[in-house]
């Protein structure tokens, strides 16, 4: 479904000079598959998501979604096909939660779609237990509550592809599970592809079909966690020696020391 070939992104800055953030990335996400991007801070995970969504202009990339070239799609068609949850968002200028979630319907809006849009928004609110927050102002909510609302917005956007940028970083265990389960359900029920940038290796391994390890804009390793969560890879990517074990076929990775 999503196919990315030779995606490079160069960040130009007068002070620092050109810096290669993404270096010829090849990546694919199949329908119904959850792929987790892992890697250290600054590895290019967020930039990769933005480049796929064409928010960030990239160089020399061939990107297709279900065979269609992304660059040839209109902004509106892109928004119907790809839902994006940013890492964090600041003020929403006193928008209420329900208005924030309803924005996910913006690319689908037609003159007669109000009833269906409302139904989808309410369903997403129920799915993520947001009823109590629905009429509150987004600005007064905690980081974790905001993350769930942005996820709800992505759910009602009904994209073929979901791009989630650290959707669980501010969440407690209960809501981490809820968010990842929601992603899993979308992948299973709608056959959407889900690409998640995430730091928590255990949570990633618990839900992902595949992990992609990034370092300095390059794919270092990809595959099932059993293949790539090795002490050698962890040391190469994060620069720490780690204890890796597993229980119930879920890995745990405990950083031990700087080698």
């Amino acid at each position: 479904m999503l196919n990315v070939e030779k995606l490079s992104y160069r960040h130009g800055g007068r002070a620092t000079g050109d810096r290669l953030i993404l270096d010829a990335i090849d990546l694919h996400v199949n329908a119904g598959e959850i792929v987790c991007l892992v890697g250290p801070n600054g590895a290019g995970k967020s930039t990769l998501l933005k480049c796929i969504n064409l928010i960030q202009p990239s160089q020399q990339a061939a990107m297709t979604l279900d065979g269609r070239a992304l660059v040839q799609m209109s902004r509106r068609d892109l928004a119907r096909a790809i839902a994006y949850v940013p890492q964090q968002s600041g003020t929403a200028m006193a928008l209420r939660v329900i208005d924030m979630i309803a924005l996910g319907r913006a690319p689908h809006r037609r003159w007669n779609s109000a009833a269906q849009d409302r139904r989808l928004v309410l369903a997403a609110i129920e799915r993520l237990d947001l009823q109590a927050l629905a009429l509150r102002s987004y600005d007064e909510l905690s980081g974790g509550e905001r993350q769930r609302i942005l996820l709800a917005r992505a759910l009602v956007q009904q994209g073929r592809l979901l791009l989630l940028d650290e959707p669980t970083s501010d969440l407690d265990l209960h809501h981490q599970l809820q968010a990842m389960t929601a992603a899993r359900e979308i992948a299973d029920a709608q056959g959407s592809g889900v690409l998640i940038a995430i730091h928590d290796l255990a949570l990633a391994s618990r839900f992902a079909d595949r992990l992609v390890m990034l370092k300095q804009g390059r794919v270092v390793a990809q595959g099932h966690w059993r293949e790539i969560l090795t002490p050698a890879n962890i040391e190469a990517v994060y620069g720490v020696s780690a204890l890796i074990g597993s229980d119930h076929d879920i890995p745990y990775v405990i950083p031990m020391s700087h080698p």
Binding site: A79, S89, A92, L95, R96, E140
Partner: protein, 361 residues
Amino acid sequence: MNTPSTARGALLHTLQRRRWRNWLALLAGLLLLVAAMSLSAALGVQKLSMATSLRGLFAPLLPQAWLSDIPRWQIELLQQLRLPRIVMAVVAGAGLALAGVAMQGITRNPLVSPYTVGISPAAAFGASLAILSGAAGAWSAPYLTVAAAFVSAVLCATLVLAFSALRGVSSTMLVLGGVGLTYLFSALTASVQFVATEQQLSAIVQWTFGSLNGSTWNEVAIAGGVLLLGAPLLQWHAWALNAFAAGGDDIAASLGFAVGRVRAVVTIVAVMITAAVVSFTGVIGFVGLVAPHIARLLIGGDHRWLLPFSAIVGALLVLLSDMTGRLLFAPVIIPVGIVVAYVGVPLFLHLLLSSRHKAAL
């Protein structure tokens, strides 16, 4: 424990009620505005009855027979003096408030207003340059001043637009650039004042106070026409403004909006409305900043409601301020630009303080 369906029913019910409340608030605001307009038309050195002023307000819509008992001079007082001034107050207040909401939304910055991005100071510079150029006294002087103010405002706006179109310019940089332009145009105006004669200086200072004195139907038609063209365009972009407010350019783009086009259209409309108003009235800086905030505190941040509601709040603010300025030390008229701060700031601070636990801003 609620089952999902009854919980959804409750939420639907609450949403329905909120919708009704918003419509009611809008209607109440409009009624209040009409009441304030007729009160303003009735009060003055010559007092008229409310019945007379209300009928005078809607005179073009009423059959002649309904107006036959009103003395000729009262009709003329209303139609030639008070009504143009009142309608101009409404147009100016609504226009500046709309421009403020649009600019705050598109830059996602609550500190932005037509004043802070330099448009009003630029208009003041243009006007003062025209006054200095010495055409004062000629028949064309008022038009020249208006035209110079307008051109200067649009020039400034073009600078702001060109600046914001540069790649990598964030909304914070846009605001800071606007602050820079504000200082530049203030310095230019001060320079003009420095070399002006006493008479010219007085005219320039008068202009920068912001006043509705001598508003004519022609002026109302031009400023009102721009407003009537611009307001629906802004309303059309209400969803896009929500998207910009929700997360800036990236999020608006990821939700399917053509960011560059929306930003250009909204900014140009806001600038044209501001320029059209300010060229005639002078600097009424505060309304564009504060009316959107008052409206946001009262009705929330959804631009579908916020735009019309801000327009009503802005219109009320300018109208009531002008009324106060006319009546307080009558027959001396205090310029509306001064009064609006005295009326608006306490109201604004009150709403701000009473909302501090709700974090509505």
